[in-house]
Subunit: 336 residues, 2 copies
DNA sequence: CTGAAAGCGCTTACAG
DNA sequence: CTGAAAGCGCTTACAG
């Protein structure tokens, strides 16, 4: 039941100075091999663990990265976080996670909490409120204090920092074209995540595709599942829908359920492509054709970029990765 | 582009001592109101943020809790984490998250990483390897250093610490009896998470129920989805299954898919109850009747217990919460 | 090869 | 009401 042992205590036990103990433990050539050995043995015996707080204070670095995400419940963020954590462990870094819950205020609070020496850098996926309001003063503070910042997935181009995201507009455009190629002419865009940069980008891609294909657009935007289902069933009844491009997993699943319930077949009557490749996409019957957002890779690349930045391995100019994505063909669209 | 300002710098600007600045900022009555005001204004102007590392070192507490979980991908852990984070934010604490990836070694590493002054306490859900091997020496180290420890969900009774879990055995027993009451006589236990305390407990409950009901047991244990599906289809063919008790969400979904694919009806031919109430349970067709594990509440209670322990509000005797759970009736069992 | 000293940025008991 | 001093636990340039 002892308390943690310190350098001071070890030095007393050995009748040497604290400096000697410290150097011996870090294998400094200044110290004689015998002393080094003695010190290390005693340290081992007493299960000495250096106090990270003191080390960090002295070294002015913490080997930990702060991560702020809007939520952890959507599969995308859980996977991205997994990618971040895995890469961090690999590179010898730890992570501190805060969840903004889509709120700008909580995001700003978390930033404050972390900007006080606790972390060497911040990885952020912006909250919906921040993206909607475009009020990024709290983000600018990070830059002002010269704390490295990496934005991922939900990025804002005007912020001068490293970024990792997928080319959502391009993907949405290609997905729309794919639906067109399956003879769909009434392609409806369905989203439960309005007001995020990713959703905006996807809408842009969708509209671009429609314009070049000379088709009309149609949107279902919702906050609650009930609203979504009602809107979809209405469109079906009015014969205004033979395909769905869904911006998030939940809206894709809700759409499929409404479609099946109304007696239509997937993909013969209505084809669907979703974003986010979660477990529901894989296991629903029929399984959902999705744009793979490479959540884990985004997370892993964001962390790697951060560490490279911290360790000065990157040029001064900020990086802006746009990951290539691919469409995972499943049963909600016709086979090629 | 300035660097972060310190007490020392503020004190120089104001021509007072560091102590005065420090006390003024903490509203000490020792300092005159005018000085306090002046100091605070300058601090505000310079966006002074106290260095948490230095504060923590001095105060010997960090107001942050370490959380080590086996994985973040299963919905249960994502939800539990959400509960932990929410409650932590509410109580003014931060959390540091490590993922053990079900490995005892990574778990031990994370513990070492966190036990060096970084956190005030540790919340843990044990990795599968640790639970299987029962080698808990790395956990004992935590206790030895008098670091508060709360175990949740995957607990081990022999460890002397606060615990939060659900009564898995009882729940499994009741779920089994519920299936019996729907005239099921060939109830198969299906699991993809063998060798965890929760699975062991559920098996115990299942077997207890079967014994009192004088029924035979039958197990499907698997590592890959293919194995599960094959095993289930075999049992169906041999007419050895009219109900499934599934220990995790994935095995429940896999079972349902196999059953439907083999042409049986749910719940008329085969009824199913699962554990873990994730999004797939809710949205699969038919939706899955599940035992609600109260993931968020487990997380939130674990964190609250931790904070109470740290702040000395708890008796010396360790607490052992067993949360009441309930069965969420959906379409994979007959209505009551 | 070893140790005394300064310092990271803060807090607080004590003196004045 | 204000400040000098000690200390949290470490690291490292410097002296010996």
């Amino acid at each position: 039941m002892e308390n943690r042992v310190t350098l001071k205590e070890l030095s007393k036990l050995l009748n040497v100075s604290i400096s000697t103990v410290s150097k011996a433990l870090r294998d400094s050539p200044e110290i004689s091999p015998e002393t080094r050995k003695k010190v290390k043995e005693l340290a081992e015996l007493n299960q000495y663990v250096p106090n990270a707080l003191a080390q960090n204070l002295k070294n002015r670095k913490t080997k930990t990265i702060g991560v702020i995400i809007p939520s952890i419940l959507p599969h995308f963020f859980a996977k991205a976080l997994h990618g971040i954590e895995t890469k961090a462990a690999e590179l010898g870094y730890g992570i501190i996670i805060c969840i903004s819950n889509e709120s700008r205020e909580k995001e700003a609070e978390s930033i404050k909490r972390l900007m006080n020496g606790r972390v060497d850098g911040l990885i952020l996926s912006l909250s919906r409120e921040t993206q909607a309001s475009k009020d990024t003063s709290h983000i600018m503070d990070i830059l002002k204090y010269r704390i490295p910042l990496v934005l991922f997935d939900r990025v804002l181009e005007e912020i001068d920092c490293d970024k990792v995201s997928i080319n959502d507009a391009l993907q949405a455009e290609q997905a729309t074209i794919k639906l067109f190629q399956q003879s769909c002419r009434k392609i409806v865009y369905c989203t439960g995540i309005s007001n995020t940069s990713v959703d905006d980008q996807r809408k842009i891609g969708y509209l671009q595709a429609l314009e070049s294909l000379k088709l009309d657009s149609n949107f279902v935007e919702f906050d609650t599942p009930e609203v979504a289902s009602a809107a979809i069933q209405k469109l079906l009844k009015q014969d205004k829908m033979d395909a769905v491009l869904a911006s998030d997993e939940l809206s894709a699943i809700l759409a499929m359920k409404s479609i099946l319930k109304s007696g239509y077949r997937i993909p013969e009557d209505v084809a669907i492509i979703g974003f986010t490749n979660g477990s529901m996409s894989e296991h629903f019957v029929p399984s959902l054709t999705t744009v793979d957002q490479h959540a884990e890779e985004q997370g892993s690349l964001a962390l790697e970029t951060m560490v490279d930045r911290i360790e000065g391995k990157l040029p001064a100019d900020k990086l802006n990765y746009k990951l290539e994505t691919s469409i995972i063909q499943r049963d909600s669209t016709l086979p090629e």
